[in-house]
Amino acid sequence: MKRYFNIYKLTILFAFITAFTFACNADKKAASEETVNAVTVNNKETAGESLYQLEGEWHSQNGDTLQLAELNGKIPVVSMIFTRCGFACPRIVADIKNIEKQIPAEKKDSVVFVLVSFDSERDNPDKLKEFATEMKLDDKWILLHGGEQEVRELSMLLNVKYKKQPDGSFAHSNGITLLDANGAIAAHVEGLGTDPEPIVSKMKEL
């Protein structure tokens, strides 16, 4: 009982700090509680924020079955797309290729590019393979198909908004997210053709 009470107090205290501490006296814990757009997020002990806690299976363009946790130790650049997308998704791929050109030499081996499809129904591994060939994506690129539930959960973690349209296409927001070696979000940029500087500079620190 007493222990819980203390935890409760701590929680309240923490909430208080989060809500009311800003600017100069914001401590690091509080800073990590805030959502800061287009700004790199401080990370030290990030395992607790790892996206790899997400359960569920995914299928790659090569037909492999995998869990996100298998990316552990890599530095993934993640975005969500669907292959029938005519406008935004090819541009997102181009934006990521632009990041690819700026990867620091010492990170070349660990950085991978992950594209997750919104389209659980139609983007099966074969279709993803086709897309990868068409867009000239090499083996640094991992294209993932998952169930509706898994895709929705991942979109929540990446703060991507999307909605299936009556014609089977998807309205969606465009974002590119950098994960650290633990799978926690290290940086994020929003929109098409956005300056990827926050991602590139954070990559150097990881």
Partner: protein, 475 residues
């Protein structure tokens, strides 16, 4: 736009990774040091920051949904910036870089945000400040243009968020400052659209149809009826110069802002740089402002009104400045009284408009006294005064009034039908007009009970049935 984003990024970096003020020169004046903005409640205005150079300014504002007074006996569940309506006054200097923190109280039912008309950027910050209950958001902007600006909530449905009280003023002082004055005040006009009629006691609620029809029950200064009247009036001394920062949020009506008994020496039209002189009334659009200056030459009460005048006398758009000091009969003789501008009470002076009467249930003495006091203050006190003593020569007293207490109808006939012509009360003659009051029998019974048992009167309970009988008899 790109520059704006860059500024934003730089600021955010500075925020996260240290406290050193930004040294960037760019197209703008150098920003030196930082301060936390001091915010004030109407009618107070924060002092000029007085800085010779732009600074980084931290502004923290908390959104709270809370029940407060809209008029005597009338409550409303306001949505507020800073637990007050209008919201806190924010004062910064041209070139300042504002880091804006918006917190939404955990008990809020709704998300809220803020659109500051002083912001150059998408939505005036609305999207960047969208805040769920129990959360805090942050964004930054550079105050490029000087002037007096509105801020308001822009969460859908925007009209309702504004109609419920979410607005205030932000003044971006020009870098050269404004000429010094003796007193500064913050006045904000707004409308309330309630299901209940003006002055009806209890918790009032928002009426969407009236808002769509642009037919408010209340038009008020500083968030409630009488917020700056009587004891709460603004106070200045003879010979002092006054500057009013006046905003009008609407949400629908344009204000014909006027001060009874003054001429505006200067009006900064629409809150900008252009100055007009010697103005009687100035139009303030919904979502707009004006800065007004005048010198108070003679003592007395100045009454601030929306000169679309039914709003003033029947919907609450009144405020007062009490000017104290020596008479100056060369400027003003002093014979004329401003009593004619006093509110005639909330009840509409109508002859034909019949309201259906709700079923009547008689009340206890205690209940009648309670309800009667509120009704009296809303409908009668403007003339007969709160202490029931009236105003000598103009409005007869009710306190220990022989005229009233000896009447067989207990006064009901006067309230129902009005009264005009010569009467004698406690030996003094009065020759005025009291309008018919459009009140229900039940309400009149409460008022009369209150009047007949206050200030030394001993008249006993008045029942609604008695009033009804008088009404029937007078037809």
């Amino acid at each position: 736009m790109k520059l704006f984003l860059n500024c934003l990024l730089t600021l955010l970096f500075a925020l996260l990774f240290g406290c050193t003020p930004r040294q960037k020169e760019g197209d703008y004046e150098k920003v030196v040091g930082y301060r936390e903005a001091i915010l004030t409640n109407a009618p107070e205005v924060p002092k000029s920051p007085g800085a010779k150079y732009p600074q980084k300014v931290i502004v923290k504002l908390e959104v709270v949904e809370k029940v407060m007074r809209l008029a005597d006996g009338v409550d409303y569940n306001f949505w507020t910036f800073g637990s007050v309506v209008p919201g806190k006054f924010i004062r910064i200097r041209e070139g300042d870089e504002v880091e804006f923190h918006l917190s939404n109280h955990p008990d809020s039912k709704l998300p809220h945000n803020i659109d500051l008309h002083a912001v150059t950027g998408p939505g005036g910050g609305a999207e960047a400040s969208m805040t769920a209950p129990g959360h805090t958001t942050q964004f930054s902007f550079k105050a490029i243009n000087s002037g007096l600006y509105i801020y308001h909530c822009a969460t859908a449905p925007v009209g309702m968020h504004i109609a419920n009280g979410m607005y205030g003023l932000i003044f971006v002082e020009p870098k050269e400052g404004l000429p010094p004055v003796d007193k500064e005040f913050y006045i904000m006009q707004s409308e309330f659209y309630t299901k209940e009629k003006f002055g009806r006691p209890g918790l009032s609620s928002f009426d969407m149809q009236k808002a769509l029809d642009e037919k408010p029950e209340y038009v008020v200064f500083n968030g409630s009826v009488g917020a700056a009247m009587g004891d709460k009036a603004m106070k200045v001394n003879v010979g002092e110069t006054v500057r009013l920062y006046v905003g009008n949020i609407g949400p629908n009506l344009i204000s014909s802002f006027h001060v009874i008994g003054e001429i505006f020496d200067k009006v900064y039209i629409e809150g900008g740089d252009l100055i007009n002189k010697n103005v009687q009334s100035t139009a303030i659009p919904a979502g707009g402002s004006a800065i007004i200056e005048f010198k108070c030459e003679v003592p007395g009460s100045l009454t601030l009104v929306d000169h679309s005048v039914f709003r003033a006398f029947n919907k609450g758009a009144l405020a007062q400045i009490h000017v104290e000091g020596k008479e100056n009969t060369r400027v003003f003789s002093g014979k004329q009284r401003d009593a004619v501008y006093l509110p005639e009470g909330s009840a509409v002076q109508s002859i034909t408009d019949k309201r259906p009467e709700p079923p009547m249930a008689e009340k206890s003495m205690f209940e009648r006294m309670e309800k009667g006091k509120i009704l009296y203050e809303n409908n009668c006190a403007a003339c007969h005064q709160q202490n029931g003593e009236g105003l000598a020569g103009a409005f007869p007293p009710l306190a220990e009034s022989d005229y009233l207490m000896k009447r067989e109808d207990k006064g009901a006939g006067i309230v129902i039908n009005g009264l005009s012509g010569k009467i004698t009360v406690n030996g003094k003659e009065y020759d005025g007009v009291m309008p018919q009051m459009q009140l229900t029998d039940d309400e009149i019974a409460s008022i009369l009970t209150y009047v007949r048992n206050s200030w030394g009167n001993k008249g006993g309970l008045v029942n609604a049935a008695e009033v009804k009988a008088v009404r029937a008899g007078s037809k």
